[in-house]
Symmetry: C2
Subunit: 562 residues, 2 copies
């Protein structure tokens, strides 16, 4: 019972968030506003059954909307087909267990990408905020266009927009305030109630602003016959009739694009959107997991089926949204069942309220997006990244800059590749510690300890360094293999060459503490008489004494002629 | 003095090998035979000064010839420009220190590539061996064409060819025989002299066969007016006048290709040829290094300058050849100075002997190539690879099959990428050992030891597994970090989440033996009260006693009411 109430409250609160969000995000995707709402109910119902994380209300997201705009270019048919095909790709990735691919997007790359997307989304809203025309595809082009056209800005659109932004930020601040939290006895009942009300104000701030400005727009039109600020315009009413996603469309120049044309126009978006959506979803799941583990496969399947289902409702790609999850979690959600109430609210809105949506000012929706999206710019990760590992700033800042200058999917791909090169470099360049030690019998030897496994990119480097270290003297050399937890055929070949080289120059080389799995790999290639392993310190003296390569040690003292 | 004699003998022996090889390899590259000779002297002189390995006589090689044929398609101008541009690429790679790139070609990939190239080169010689026409670009197409056209084979060409192959293999065998090596007293003087003569016979077998069949061809033409076997035909005499490499050429359809056209036609060959040539060269250097280290940068610069110089003599790309290095090393080479004598011999041959080369039968040259190239098929690496690491057969066999079916540079590239995926998977999936231990005070705890470093592809996996292991009980958990020699920001974020999760569920989590460099990374992100590190076993009991999360341990025994 307690669970059902928690889910009911969470579901309704999320519903109040998702409706204005859906209208606004459709604008980011360059689509008519109803398509955002179309993607906010059926997917929710699917996620109830298949989803693994209670705090993820599936629906349109800012990032997926921006990517949809970049890939589908504002063509409804392409956006809907994209939802269908991206859903199939997600489903396939889930079934084939390819969810691990998101692991190759590191924290810095992910932060750089999210921050760049946030700036691009904010930029995309400037046109509605100032009621100007903005052209250009990249961040830079758009800002040049903005500064060129700013002189033609309207008066009342920016006024309304910035007032809304100020109100939204204020309500956000109020919503986060906790009365009496600092007093020693904790908050009293009155403080608790006020805190709860303030939290509700903060949570419903988007709905409040949208409803209030909508009423304002309605009053302006009713009183003066027209509005000084630009309004949303007519939105078709009613829940869409389920239908197959479109497999062809008529282009602007009246030619028809068939299925193959559409797929080739969507191109790499068919792979990038599923991966990015999953990345966002898993990041959210992790943030609200309370230490439970997340099943990436289950999430991919759930989001895949939700995307396919949504495409039958003429929706464009979506997924889990962090903003809604924060609301959902804060409303005391207990199970994924909360999605039912959210979906029902969206259906009600579509059925009965769309006629009122046309009076919402565009600048107010832009304000809703801008005031939320700016908190997605993760400037606060730079400091810990700098303190933890400065090198990680390269993929982070690099991805950020590339996403703003290149097409966004190319930007994140380049960031991932740069970061993979770090891993490969790391595999290719192990570190060594070198010590000159003495056995119990007093024989000096050189102990060389590599710090990681031997795989093909590093073997030559290791061999070269060992030879260099050993060349300084002619003492016996011991290669300490404790940290070599894995090896391959190329490593074994190199070890064989190394042992043969040492044998040829009559310098003893022993291997200490080789793991059995690694030992069997080396033994399969190296000559047994060259490849000598020992596991106990005491064995070394015995080995050295028996080694005929080490003449000075073996020579008996000259006999005394007494 | 001893050095000079060694170099003189080695230089002349290599000269006797390189002249027939040059004529034959030009045929693999689809170019007139003199272009092989043009590439066999100036590069040698350059390598004397800049080269780092005494046993590498720079000149045409089988692999570079096959790649030249695939990239330049038998157009002389393109092949010469390729030598020039590939030389510049090698030089740049050397200057920029990109020699380490060859480390990413593993042993299995290299073996698969070499074996595939050997089979393709042997296939390319079938047309001369049987005097038939062969069409097709890939291995399969060529063999289909061979079986279709075999009925039109000549009689005497294959007879001569196979007799030559039999003789060459016999002489090779004789050359490897060592008389008296098995007798206890070692070989006597007579045996030593005979062994040396037999070695000389084996080493000069190519020159012997080419000269003998050339005399035969001359006699046939002189006696009967024509030859029953196809001969080489006229070869222009004299050392070429140095000239700039061609920056444009006239295509078969009489259109002119300018420099940009030529570069785009050469395409990826401009990167693949330098890398493959360097790969072969470094493999040779390693084989004859006697344990000295090889400077890949120096080799790249030497081969780059040699390639540029050669292009002024109208030569096509070349490098170090294993066959010649074996001869060179066996002839008692002492310094790179031997290249002087080799180069002088080639100049003498160009100046005075080309008129005799026209009588050499094509089938004899094909026999020279086939009888050498078949030993390049590395079927003998399969067994040790199987015993050492069966997984390494995938990139090995995969590269072999792909090189035979795809364009050869795509084949090796795919092999390298597959092998890199192994490395990435390896980085993403560390192994764990989990033990239930007891402190001295008798408190049970779970010790989890990951076996390698924490980098972004693996951190999620590690976090998930640690949570899974720890979820089985509520005992304290110790993460043993001895083998974690490196970490990044993403790992630190994950560790922070992990510590916060454990804190939230009131299960103690400690970190044991964290390296200082790793510790500072974790401390930059994790909360200090959650991230507890200890280095001595005894500290654990003190930590556990002080930990208020572990209520049962901290509770004092109930006071006795006596």
């Amino acid at each position: 019972m307690e669970k059902a109430v928690g889910d009911l409250i969470a579901g309704i609160t999320v519903g109040l968030t998702v409706i204005p969000q859906s209208l606004a995000y459709s604008n980011i995707a360059g689509l008519p506003p109803q398509h955002g709402l179309y993607g906010s109910f059926l997917g929710c119902f699917v996620y109830i059954v298949l989803g693994g994380c209670r705090a993820v209300p599936a629906g349109p997201t800012a990032i997926a909307s921006l990517l949809t705009w970049q890939v589908a270019g504002g063509v409804v048919e392409k956006a809907v087909l994209l939802s269908f095909l991206a859903g199939i790709v997600k489903l396939l990735m889930g079934v084939l267990g390819l969810g691990f691919l998101v692991n190759f997007v590191s924290g810095p790359v992910s932060s750089g990408f999210t921050s760049a997307v946030a700036l691009m989304i904010a930029t995309s809203q400037v046109k509605d905020l100032f009621a100007i025309t903005v052209t250009g595809d990249t961040f830079l082009q758009q800002w040049i266009s903005i500064f060129r056209n700013l002189h033609s800005a309207a008066l009342w659109d920016p006024v309304l927009g910035f007032v809304c932004i100020a109100l939204l930020l204020l309500m956000r601040k109020i919503g986060m305030t906790k009365l009496g939290a600092k007093s020693e006895s904790g908050p009293n009942t009155r403080q608790k109630v006020i805190t709860k009300c303030m939290w509700l104000l903060g949570t419903c701030r988007n709905a409040i602003v949208v409803v209030a400005t909508g009423v304002l727009g309605y009053w302006l039109v009713a009183t003066y016959g027209h509005s000084p600020v630009r309004l949303m315009g007519v939105i078709p009413s009613g829940v869409p009739v389920p239908q197959l996603p479109p497999f062809s469309y008529v282009r602007a120049d009246n030619t028809t694009a068939d299925f193959v044309d559409m797929v080739s126009e969507l191109g790499s978006g068919l792979l990038v959107i599923p991966l990015i959506v999953l990345l966002e979803d898993i990041a959210i799941c992790k943030a609200f997991s309370d230490g439970r583990t997340i099943d990436a496969t289950q999430e991919m399947i759930a989001l895949g089926v939700a995307g396919i289902a949504n495409s039958f409702m003429q929706a464009y790609p979506g997924g889990g949204s962090l903003a809604r999850s924060v609301v959902c979690n804060g409303s005391g959600v207990k199970t994924t069942f909360n999605g039912l109430y959210t979906g029902l609210m969206v259906i009600l809105a579509l059925q009965f309220f769309t006629q009122y949506f046309e009076f919402i000012p565009k600048a107010a929706l832009a304000a809703v997006i801008v005031s939320a999206i700016l908190f997605m710019v993760e400037y606060n990760v730079i400091k810990p990244m700098w303190r933890a590992k400065k090198l990680d700033l390269i993929p982070g800042v690099g991805t950020f800059v590339l996403c703003l200058t290149l097409p966004i999917e190319l930007g994140i791909l380049t960031g991932v590749i740069v970061n993979i090169i770090f891993i490969l470099y790391h595999a290719a360049r192990p570190k060594f510690s070198v010590e000159m030690l003495k056995t119990e019998a007093g024989v000096e030897y050189l102990m060389i300890t590599p710090d990681r496994c031997l795989m093909f990119p590093s073997v030559d480097y290791v061999r070269r360094l060992v030879i260099k270290f050993a060349a300084s003297g002619s003492v016996p050399v011991v290669l300490e293999c404790t940290h070599i937890y894995s090896a391959d055929y190329t490593a074994a070949k190199s070890i064989e060459q190394l042992t043969a080289d040492f044998h040829a120059r009559r310098q003893p080389l022993y291997f200490y503490n080789v793991k059995p799995s690694v030992c069997s790999i080396f033994e399969a290639v190296a000559k047994p008489e060259h490849f000598v392993v020992f596991y106990e310190d005491e064995e070394l003296d015995r080995l050295l004494a028996a080694d005929d390569r080490l003449a000075p040690v073996k020579q008996p003292p000259p006999p005394h002629h007494a």
